[in-house]
């Protein structure tokens, strides 16, 4: 796991939003806790060359904020982003902007309805001087073919396409500038199952054929399991577990990851896991619990969990978990809630 392998690395990233409304703060009874929203509370993560890293977690866990910080559309409150070992400045130059590209969740709002597909692509190719002007058309067609569309869509407008086709156009747009890294924020969650499969296969082929590194933000764990090499699980602004995909799902070492896996609706009736249903909802990011931020919902919490905020520590080769009791958790195959620890 040398640093050289990482195409993108973040260290101790935090992001805090202030309400900025003096009146609201004055009205709020609990002045200290309600004035700031902690979206990210210290994130360390690396994206390795040629891998698809999935980022999963519930809404409000900060996964989209992290994606936006990586792509540079939101500035971190503190912490650093490194691209191929060198720090990324707060204001990115044209070259860095080009190297890290984004695909958004909703292909209906992320494409300009007044620009034809051809003009979307040619604008990028010219601004970033990817190819000389006379080759723009050929390059656009090559890009469209790459994502499974034909040359005849060049003159069409986004409204003429279905959701899956639009997402292909959005991916072609991201690829046009020849990036090293693709940040995809829930790119398949707005699509139908049969279309979703084609987009997932496209991401796979981009990795295998172009060696593209991708950060894939998702909440559907079945999709993640299918696509990614590694998975990072986020809870309330922190990464609580990172591991290789197969390892994470076979041997989760954080209670939250276990709860997520137990909640997945299954396709085969025999495998319904009814042992562990997480009660309650994530606490407000305005008011993050003391100690381990998962302890109020954790069936394994002990006194130490209320007092200590656990750091992300290695529990096995390439497997990190932010749980004080990571080594004491029962094996996952037989996974009833341990009543005695409550």
């Amino acid at each position: 796991m040398s640093v050289d392998e990482a195409v993108l690395r973040v260290s101790s990233i935090t992001k805090t939003y202030h309400l900025g409304n003096v009146l609201l703060e004055r009205l709020s009874k609990n002045k200290e806790s309600h004035s700031a929203l902690t979206a990210l509370g210290g994130i360390d993560l690396e994206l390795r060359k040629g891998e698809i890293l999935a980022l999963v977690g519930e809404s409000g866990s900060g996964k989209s904020t992290l994606a936006k910080i990586l792509v540079g559309s939101v500035a971190a409150t503190s912490g650093d982003v490194f691209h191929e070992g060198s720090p990324v400045p707060a204001r990115r130059g044209k070259d860095l902007t080009r190297r890290i590209q984004m695909v958004f969740q909703d292909p209906y709002s992320s494409l300009n309805p007044r620009m034809s597909v051809g003009s979307v692509l040619s604008e990028l190719l010219l601004v970033h001087k990817i190819v000389p002007r006379r080759e723009v058309r050929a390059e656009s067609i090559r890009l469209l073919n790459r994502v499974g569309l034909d040359a005849d869509v060049l003159d069409a407008y986004p409204s003429q396409f279905s959701g899956g086709q639009r997402q292909r156009i959005a991916i072609a747009r991201a690829l046009a500038v020849r990036p090293d890294v693709l940040i995809a924020d829930e790119p398949v969650s707005a699509l139908d199952v049969s279309v979703q499969a084609t987009i997932l296969e496209l991401f796979k082929s981009l990795r295998d054929e172009l060696g593209l590194s991708s950060l894939f933000v998702a909440h559907n764990l079945a999709v993640v399991q299918h696509l990614s090499q590694r998975v990072a699980v986020m809870y309330l602004g922190r990464i609580v577990e990172v591991a290789e995909t197969a390892e994470l799902f076979a041997n989760p070492r954080h209670p939250y990851t276990r709860a997520l896996i137990a909640s997945i609706p299954r396709m085969t009736a025999e495998s319904v896991n009814d042992d562990f249903v997480l009660e309650g909802e994530p606490p407000s990011p305005f008011n993050i619990p003391q100690g381990c931020r998962f302890h109020p919902r954790c069936p394994f919490a002990v006194q130490a969990c209320i007092e200590t905020d656990p750091a992300l520590m290695p529990v096995a080769a390439g497997h990190d978990s932010a749980c004080l009791r990571a080594h004491e958790l029962p094996t996952f195959s037989s996974f009833p809630v341990c009543q005695e620890v409550l």
Partner: protein, 342 residues
């Protein structure tokens, strides 16, 4: 299929169908033409049954549900067919009488609770509205009922939350409010339109469990529309798969998932990632969804079907029994899936 009750239901003596939809056709009428968007859909829901309708966007599943609740969008109308609820014909029933059924007899839970709730009314009052009108309760008694219903759906501190406005609550809580509203008059039939699509996986699990419990406690039947196959598998007993406004396969969920008898059902199952089979490749369904405006007299799935024959392009296959309790709308179902030469 209409005359013979679904299997599993026959075992219970004296049970009649709570809801019978027969040859329901919905369409948009224009001055010179009309477009059929739901074509001759028939199904029965027995008392206490949980019935799923699965399909992709545009398959007509939500419209079918809305027709039962008399909530069709302006312009869409019932062109023919019947919807019988508890022996009463709903199509053509006078407006006031039908309005009276909604709440105490039939209730609906919508996909996006934020748009379905009134943003300027406290949630407690919104829940109390139904009982006041339909059960004739006083303001005070209806409010007490609202609070107890909120408690029943697992909302912590319901008396305080009843005074909140929808924007003050999380997505999971809002969906519980919707459920509390739906069950407040103890309906016999609950219609759900993708009730968990907007929710996180752990909250989705909680909400699905809650729906199951409430149905069992109140003896209510459920019609559950979704595009998520895994959710249907966890929630429903029987299902119908819809494609291009028609039902293409019906049967018990377990049987359909284990052994699909229509190429579209097989395609859906093959394209969805299954958490329990991470290494199974995803096979997308080629082509695009059928255009409803221009429907030739042929199988609607034929252009995308890997098993298509000449006959499929000449005639539209009817939904016909393929096995006891199983119907499929495919001429070659036996041949394709059972390897029987006809």
């Amino acid at each position: 299929m209409l005359e013979t009750p679904l299997p599993g239901v026959t075992e219970l003596p004296g049970v009649t169908n709570l809801l019978s939809v027969t040859d329901l056709t919905l369409g948009v009428k224009r001055s010179n033409s009309s477009t059929v968007i739901v074509d001759s859909v028939s199904f029965d829901v027995a008392t206490g049954d949980r019935f799923g309708i699965v399909g992709e966007s545009g398959s007509g599943k939500s419209m079918t549900l809305r027709a039962i609740a008399n909530l069709l969008p302006v312009g869409v109308q019932v062109m023919s067919g019947s919807i019988r609820y508890n022996g009463q014909e709903l199509v053509g029933m006078n407006r006031g009488k039908r309005r009276g059924l909604m709440g105490p007899e039939i209730a609906m839970i919508f996909q996006e609770p934020m748009t379905a709730l009134n943003p300027v009314m406290r949630v407690g009052e919104q829940i109390a509205e139904g009982p006041r009108r339909h059960l004739g309760l006083s303001r005070k008694a209806a409010m007490d009922l609202a609070v107890s219903m909120m408690g029943r759906t697992g909302i912590p501190d319901p008396a305080r939350r009843a005074l909140a406005y929808p924007h003050e609550l999380s997505g999971g809580l809002r969906q519980r409010i919707m459920i509390a509203m739906a069950i407040s008059c103890r309906p016999k039939l609950i219609l759900c339109d993708e009730p968990t699509t907007a929710l996180d996986v752990t909250v989705q699990r909680q909400v699905l469990r809650l729906l199951e419990e409430l149905c069992d406690d109140f003896g209510a039947s459920l019609v559950f529309v979704t595009h998520d196959l895994a959710v249907v598998n966890q929630t429903c007993r029987n299902l119908a798969v819809m494609y291009a406004g028609r039902m293409v396969e019906t049967g018990r969920v377990k049987d359909v998932f284990r052994d699909p008898r229509h190429p579209y059902t097989k395609g859906l199952l093959d394209s969805a990632p299954d958490f329990d089979q991470p290494h199974r490749p995803l096979i997308p369904i080629p082509g695009f969804p059928a255009n409803l405006a221009n429907r030739p007299n042929a199988c609607a799935f034929a252009p995308r079907c890997p098993f298509v024959r000449d006959h499929c392009l000449e005639e539209s296959p009817p939904l016909a029994p393929v096995e006891p309790g199983r119907d499929a709308a495919c001429f070659y179902s036996d041949e394709i899936f059972k390897k029987v030469t006809v």
